[in-house]
Symmetry: C2
Subunit: 322 residues, 2 copies
Amino acid sequence: MASEFTFISRYFKDLTGQQGVALGIGDDAALINMTSGQQLVAATDTLVAGVHFPSSASAEQIATRALCVNLSDIAAMGAKPKWFTVALTIPPETASPKWLEGFSCGLASVAKAFDLALVGGDTTAGPLTISITLLAEVPIDGALLRSGAKAGDCIYVTGTLGDGAAALAEITHAGDKNKVSERLLSRFYRPQPQVEIGIKLRALASACIDISDGLLADLGHICHASNVCAEINSQQLPIDPEVKANHTQQSLAWALSGGDDYQLCFTLPQNLSQQVDQWIKSGQLNATMVGHIVAANHAKQAILVDGKPANTMTRGYDHFSD
Amino acid sequence: MASEFTFISRYFKDLTGQQGVALGIGDDAALINMTSGQQLVAATDTLVAGVHFPSSASAEQIATRALCVNLSDIAAMGAKPKWFTVALTIPPETASPKWLEGFSCGLASVAKAFDLALVGGDTTAGPLTISITLLAEVPIDGALLRSGAKAGDCIYVTGTLGDGAAALAEITHAGDKNKVSERLLSRFYRPQPQVEIGIKLRALASACIDISDGLLADLGHICHASNVCAEINSQQLPIDPEVKANHTQQSLAWALSGGDDYQLCFTLPQNLSQQVDQWIKSGQLNATMVGHIVAANHAKQAILVDGKPANTMTRGYDHFSD
């Protein structure tokens, strides 16, 4: 079925660097030369029309969102993304040259920004679904995991929270795209995977995860994997002023459990927080301390927000429970 | 979204070997230790309900077919498959524990047979689609490519041809599964990726491809990549006697362009064919010589069958041209 991939390769080929690619698109599989001393990092994510993006989204928007969402998983590992494959399932009536060109342009622009090489995939007829596998490298034993948080660690998040949910609400309710804030539209269709920050945090963070399901759910994963609990101060949550002003009622709930933010949540031993706070002060790092890790309390709720138990199971985006 | 993958990991975990897996399912991405001196091989393939398998297929059948089809691409590279990710998109009403258990059992049985480790993926709600990315290893510069065939080389195929198309015809027309030959049902839902043969051919074959679109189409890819032409003797094509008897009219056409066989087509310099013929005679290799590579003739048709031009563009399974 690899031959069908000419659709994409026609528009895409030679648009990105080919570092380490011994054999790219065009044979039965790709051949890649790994850098010695590195571990291979692999992550797969799927986006479905009407579930992960509105059916009205443009081909370019779908492509940039799909690739950025996948990159966010790699960022959370502190890894350097290098190669990716794309499985595109598309209704024949949608697969016009214009659509495919837009899709390829979207992929190419993100691939260029992160120096990624497309190494394979396929295109098949069917309901619109995009599945991307990202391959990355990280120094052996250097990856950031969910499982290293310890009582006393500070909890940080990058960027602002709640943008993903605010964007989705505006896109869904506005109907007319002109009414959606440009900033939020860009946050939704081109989230900003924190790859550089992930790499910067390698030697420092005790645990790290990307915020795709909402801070409570994802910090809950860190707590579960590290066997600890967490306390969050809602006053400290970084929320964009525009989101706060336009969505006063919902902005805090969205910041806690809205999902789709693709920022990083990481924990840091207190003796290392000075270094990070200095980076933040000097503008080298856009992050905010939002709470602390505490010892496991064997209660059901792993996370307290302003001293009250938060239900970490309240997810903004669990597809099967919606 | 990784948390949703608990669906699969619940049924699947610990069922397969974990060779080289430093961190499996449960974090944002998997960590894999590559063997030194090896290149990474990556291939992605997608199966869509109603396109690549009948909607009536069982969860286990879908899983075995999806994984075997992907393994076939790895076999064609002469590589050793080791790790895979699964992106499962499934309608919520289909995603019963029983269905997921069947799907996981199907994956597990193929994974066990080929000593593969499942390292990640995700499950999302949507129309039934399975996208698998297989990761494999091959000694540096040892992979079998499509591009090495030279005039004078012998052309071989493994196993029998036309089984895939015969199976599809019987499944589609029979309605009642009992009327489909057990052998063909198994060929369709659990094709036999020729991984061992691919590895065995590493030092011998000048070019190799797996037959997914039909011999003419796939041998056409070898001709195109190697800038050569080919001559096939239809009398020599290996067709199962039962298929020949039950589908007298179609069996030759199916062997040439039916697709879905997932056998290997490989080329071999004449001075090496003796070694391979000996393997065939002694039962170590199930393969048949079906023709020769000839110099490029700059005509439109790259392949002659019994001396007559064959249209290599006649595909059994080009989804967009059907």
